[in-house]
């Protein structure tokens, strides 16, 4: 009987378990979970603070998930070393775990720059895990002034999540726009406006350089008084296990399309992994939940002797703030065409006859049709692309194509 070990217990680990079980119903699966709780939907932590979900509903899989899948979960335990020759994982205590196939799904951790005086700040939090969210929740009050450093996905979702539970929120970022990793200037301005209309203040192109108790001194020379500090500057992939064992690591653990590392029988998936990004034709960390699951599933299937490749992963995001939905996918590469409507903005990026990427603000209906054009690299000459810029529609495909989709088993 094959012995599988999964280090990590997030979406990638679940994908891995389900991938293994799709091929091998019997092998032993051991999950090393640093967090002392069953898997939950990590991006839900902001929705939890908003009251849109609760601790019971945040479970990512039903309560009997591990049992049904024959998994042993070691809660509150940490993997500290990996020996690819002996095929063992050493934990923080107890005997090393032997494996026949191993998946590293250790995720990422907050990156905290070495701010001067950070140790003088009493109430400071990251916003990655449920424990982080619960700790932050304990510091919230109707009058609290909150400073969030970082106007990326994490910082802004945090701001939305706590808005109605605090007195004031200021978000600063060294970048001159919000969501700088996924939005261009114009689209970022629309999102920023929506956030400002809902009472979030911004200091952009500016960041904290020094802290002194409840005061942040900014690069611009301004100072910001706060009661609660949230650090959402960025994340770093947890790569150490593989790196120290001699595996190839770049910004994440380098994996091929099978999600295998270059260490024998060692796979990696999720935010810790750097896999193939079809939108740029090279490896990149795609730190989004769908990708974590898909990589995990691919890894698991291959660990169990399957033959799966993840060849069409692309960056994509669906994120909303105060009712304004934003979706992005692919690479913003090529000629940009824009469609504006009362409900929003759509920007499409076309190159070499392919839809390479898009940004949608507001009007996101049936956006998956656009995503599939990017992901499947559908030649735009085979669809009525002009028709679909305004309304994403299956009408753009040929009758034959529609017959397959809606008249056949897919």
């Amino acid at each position: 009987m094959k012995r599988y070990v999964i280090v990590g217990n997030g979406a990638a680990a679940v994908g891995c378990i389900e991938g293994i079980r799709a091929v091998d119903a019997k092998g032993e699966i051991t999950v090393v979970s640093q967090e002392d709780r069953p898997v939950y939907g990590r991006p839900l932590i902001s929705y939890y603070l908003m009251g849109k979900t609760d601790l019971a509903k945040m479970n990512y899989r039903p309560a009997d998930f591990y049992e049904k899948n024959g998994c042993r979960v070691l809660y509150g335990r940490r993997a500290v070393a990996l020996d690819p020759e002996k095929k063992t994982v050493t934990l923080d205590e107890g005997k090393p775990l032997p494996y026949d196939a191993l998946c590293i799904a250790t995720g990422s951790r907050p990156f905290v720059p070495p701010f001067e005086g950070l140790d003088t700040v009493e109430k400071k939090y990251s916003f990655m895990t449920l424990d982080d969210a619960l700790a932050l929740e304990g510091a919230l009050s109707e009058t609290a002034r909150v400073l969030i450093v970082g106007a990326g996905l994490i910082g802004l979702k945090c701001a939305e999540g706590i808005k109605d539970r605090v007195g004031r929120i200021t978000v600063c970022d060294l970048a001159d726009r919000v969501l700088s990793s996924i939005l261009d200037d114009d689209c970022a301005a629309v999102v920023q406006k929506r956030l400002e209309e809902n009472g979030i203040d911004f200091l952009l192109g500016d960041t904290a350089v020094r802290f002194d108790g409840n005061t942040a001194e900014m690069k611009s020379g301004k100072s910001v008084d706060f009661d609660v500090l949230v650090l959402a500057v960025g994340v770093r992939a947890n790569v150490d296990l593989v790196k120290e064992a001699g595996g190839t690591v770049n910004r994440g653990i380098v994996v091929d399309k099978a999600c295998a590392t270059d260490l024998p029988s060692v796979y990696a998936a999720g935010d810790c992994a750097e896999g193939f990004d079809a939108s740029i034709g090279q490896n990149r960390v795609l730190a989004i939940l769908p990708n974590a699951y898909l990589q995990g599933h691919t890894a698991g299937s291959n660990m169990a002797g399957g033959d799966d490749l993840l060849s069409n992963a692309i960056p994509m995001n669906s994120i909303g703030f105060f009712g304004l939905h934003v979706m992005t996918a692919g690479a913003y590469d090529g000629e940009m065409t824009e469609e504006k409507s009362e409900g929003g903005i759509k920007r499409f990026f076309v190159k070499d006859g392919l839809l390479r990427g898009y940004i949608l603000i507001g009007d996101t209906e049936r956006a998956g049709i656009y995503t599939s054009l990017v992901r499947e690299k559908t030649p735009l000459s085979t669809v009525d692309f002009d028709l679909t810029k305004k309304y994403a529609s299956n009408l753009i495909f040929s009758r034959e194509n529609r017959r397959k989709k809606f008249g056949g088993v897919v």
Partner: protein, 146 residues
């Protein structure tokens, strides 16, 4: 397993399927009371132009990206049917981002809803099919997809 299939050559574009769907999932006994003067949120929608029309609903596909992408673990596939637990959904729309058919849309309260083949409501079989006046939507077995 049986699924809903459409034959666009026979679709009249009458949108009755949308009304029958909204009624079937309303839990109410009277159609006029359930739908009159209300914005409806059907789980099937008619697309097209003045020449071609066709109804689109969940394909219950063999590789459901919505299930794999849902950040809340609210979408699952059991016995061939892709279902959503709307109490877990937070309305992030990631399923809309990934569904290549455009088959999911938010309901009245902002959480997502999708075709579940009327297996859980009082109809017992797809209301869009039973109410289609031209048999452009059928519920039948066509091949072995899971």
């Amino acid at each position: 397993m049986k699924r809903v299939y459409v034959n666009e050559e026979w679709c009249l574009g009458c949108h009755l399927c949308e009304y029958n769907c909204a009624f079937a999932n309303s839990g109410l006994k009277d159609m006029a009371f359930a739908l009159k003067d209300k914005k409806i949120f059907p789980r099937i929608h008619v697309e097209g132009d003045d020449k071609i029309t066709f109804a689109v609903s969940c394909r219950h596909c063999s590789d459901p990206l919505c299930v794999k992408s849902c950040i809340a673990g609210a979408i699952s596939k059991t016995d061939g049917v892709v279902k959503i637990d709307r109490t877990k959904c937070v309305g992030c729309l990631t399923c809309v981002l990934v569904c290549p058919y455009g088959a999911l849309a938010p309901g009245e309260n902002g959480t997502m809803q999708k075709c579940e083949l009327c297996l859980e409501n009082a109809c017992g079989e797809p209301a869009c099919v039973t109410g289609c006046p031209n048999k452009a939507i059928v519920y039948e077995e066509r091949g072995d997809g899971e």
